[in-house]
Amino acid sequence: MRNNPSLRTPVLAAAGVLALGLSLAGCGGSDSAGSDRPENEIHVLVYGDASNDVENAMVDKFNETSDVKVVLDTIPGAEYQQKLQTVMSTDAAPDIFFNWGGGSISDFVEADLLMPLDDFIEEDPQLEEAFLPSVFDVARVDDTPYGIPMRGTQPVMLFSNKEVLASAGISEPPQTWDDLLDAVDKLKAAGKTPIALGGGDEWPTQMWFSYVYDRVAGPELFASALEGDTEVWDSEESRESLGMLRDLVDSGAFGTNFQSVKFTDGGSHTLLSSGEAGFELMGSWEYSTIQDINPEFAENSLGWSEFPEIEGGKGDAANLVGNTNNYYSVLKDTRYPDAARDFLKLMYSDEFVQEHMAIGNLPTTTNTEQFLDQAANPDYASFQFGLVQDAPNFQLSWDQAYPPAATPTIHSAVSDFFAGSIDEDGFVAAMQSLKK
């Protein structure tokens, strides 16, 4: 039973060549300078959600006066980053695209696909000056700006249920870490889950790490880690932060079943709004999320405050953590760089700010302040804007500051540490395994 080898080999070889050809076919985009890009139009790719109304309005406004027309493409759902990654090195790559700054574009910069925006900013300094610096800087890669802020800011804040706090004898939100521990004890005594945490999603757990590390060690620790200095994870400040987190978890601050609770299916914010929990650490979208499910609670009993100060820590108590904003980056190969630049200029226009305020977003331009009273909830909007404006440092979420390859490792590490299945050494080792 011998197969015919003389026939087999060439067939296999042909299949191999074909397969290789297929896998390489999608990669030729970067060395052809714009000539094969569509004529008289530039494509803008954004994450598909409620904010698209504003983006559509901006596109319409731009197209009124421009010969080169902007076409808005949207990708709905959480798979945006995956789809972007697959389309970026093909001829169908967008001229301008939505991203999260930081690590979410570092692979693209490394692959030489993005246009440095220095020249644009030189021609129109407003493209940099019109934005809050702590936000603008997040889209710098190796000190070169690659993105213009294009939506609302999303700092992480400590939300609370005012009624639950009052019934447990807590008169005001915790100002310091000790206040927080004290509040945890009181809430436990009152039979509540002190802090709601969607540990099943893992990224809400990460928020606690980001803040405690920032308060204890200052933003420099994470910045060095991101630069590739993995030794910092083994530093005294790092272990001190982990010790504080360990104590908090062990004190029962999050209850015992937080690993099975999710933010994404409503578990954690329902705990807060139904009066089962006292606090929740969450991004600023918490307000609109809760308004959706329980408008009465959002209006009357939802409280918000800064993350508490940690006494003796190196980090400034005004530092923020979260998603600074979203950004537009420009493809190096774009056929109409001037049109792209002019489109980006709209992102600091009054109209842009007003449109976003109307749907509850908080843009990060310097002119935002004068429109704060037009927001859906002016108190909330101005509190948030004040935080962002005064923040000496606004730390992008760890999983977005690192390139996407690091996300699963970070998520597992924070989740395992909270669950107690790894100790401090295990956490340090996991974070040290991350490449720059």
Partner: protein
């Protein structure tokens, strides 16, 4: 119900095609020309063979989806060989298969045999029972994830059974949930297989058994179960294949967690390729999965005698 019977060999009087050579040991049938396999062959090459070769090539490369893939030789394979998560994921996959078969098979057989009965109410109940089959895995997983919320779902109502309801926080209970949800989803399908098979068991066997004085339990073990043998093999093979490729259920229910405690190989492949954008490594994991799956199928076919496919009509 004769669909499960193997084709009967043609009687000697059936004349073979004009001039077609009759080889010894083969059924003397008028075989269609090779050209008829062309569409299937092209389809197979295009959508199975070519991608498989591409995956082999890619497993020796590093590629983030951007720019040119680079050859790195054995690097991915060496990393994978020393990767504890990979080994763990294989064990978990095998565990999922075993648990899936062990939980689904007995229930499917009992329900299938029951549903093969003649009464009218059974048809109605069976129809309701088959509903999960119509829902997508994603919808089912989202549903159960919500139902099992520790504070607002079923566990909150039955504290004596679920404790604090931290089902997704421990490896054993997280695996248990996935197995349970898979069972809830796929038992109807396997029940359908057994129902069809049970209906095709010749009634004369039961009549004879009754004459001999055998009770219902004795009938079940001595007649029904042996008659279901081939269906059982089919069903188990489908469970094994399904177990190896379980993905959405894990993604939505546990996201591979807690930590990597439910990261089965198919999920690990997804995570490497589409979360870390490490397509070379993802391809290597995919190949391991192909090899393991092929090995398991071959072993099963050999052990079960599926390749011989003996007639269920034996003894009639």
């Amino acid at each position: 119900m004769t669909t499960l019977l193997p084709p009967r060999p043609p009687a000697a009087s059936d004349s073979p095609g004009k001039g077609s050579p009759v080889r010894p040991g083969r059924a003397r049938l008028n075989r269609p020309g090779v050209a008829w396999t062309l569409p299937a062959t092209i389809f197979f090459l295009l959508f199975a063979a070519v991608p498989l070769v591409a995956v082999v090539v890619l497993s020796f490369m590093t590629w983030t989806g951007l720019g040119e893939p680079k050859f790195v030789g054995m690097e991915n394979w060496q990393t994978l060989a020393g990767d504890s998560v990979m080994l763990k994921s294989l064990w978990l996959s095998l565990l999922f298969i075993v648990l899936g078969v062990v939980t689904q098979t007995p229930v499917s057989i009992l329900l299938g045999v029951w549903a093969a009965g003649p009464q009218r109410n059974r048809a109605v109940l069976s129809a309701i029972f088959f509903l999960p089959l119509l829902l997508s895995s994603a919808a089912i997983s989202v549903l159960w994830r919500a139902l099992l919320d520790p504070n607002f779902g079923v566990p909150a109502q039955f504290r004596w059974l679920f404790g604090d309801g931290n089902l997704f926080g421990h490896q054993s209970t997280a695996i248990g949930v996935i197995i349970f949800v898979s069972m809830w989803q796929f038992t109807p399908f396997h029940t359908l297989i057994y129902q069809g098979a049970a209906k095709s068991v010749p009634p004369v066997l039961y009549q004879a058994a009754e004459v001999d004085g055998a009770g219902r339990i004795r009938q079940f073990f001595s007649i029904t179960l042996p008659q279901l043998r081939n269906s059982m093999i089919t069903s188990v093979i489908l469970m094994v294949v399904g177990g190896l490729t379980t993905f959405e259920t894990v993604l939505i229910l546990t996201n591979g967690g807690p930590g990597t405690d439910t990261t089965i190989t198919a999920f690990y492949m997804f995570e490497e390729a589409f979360r870390r954008y490490n397509f070379g490594m993802g391809s290597a994991i995919a190949l391991v999965l192909v090899v393991v799956a092929t090995a398991i199928s071959l072993i099963m076919v050999k052990l079960s005698g599926y390749d011989k496919m003996r007639s269920t009509m034996e003894g009639v």
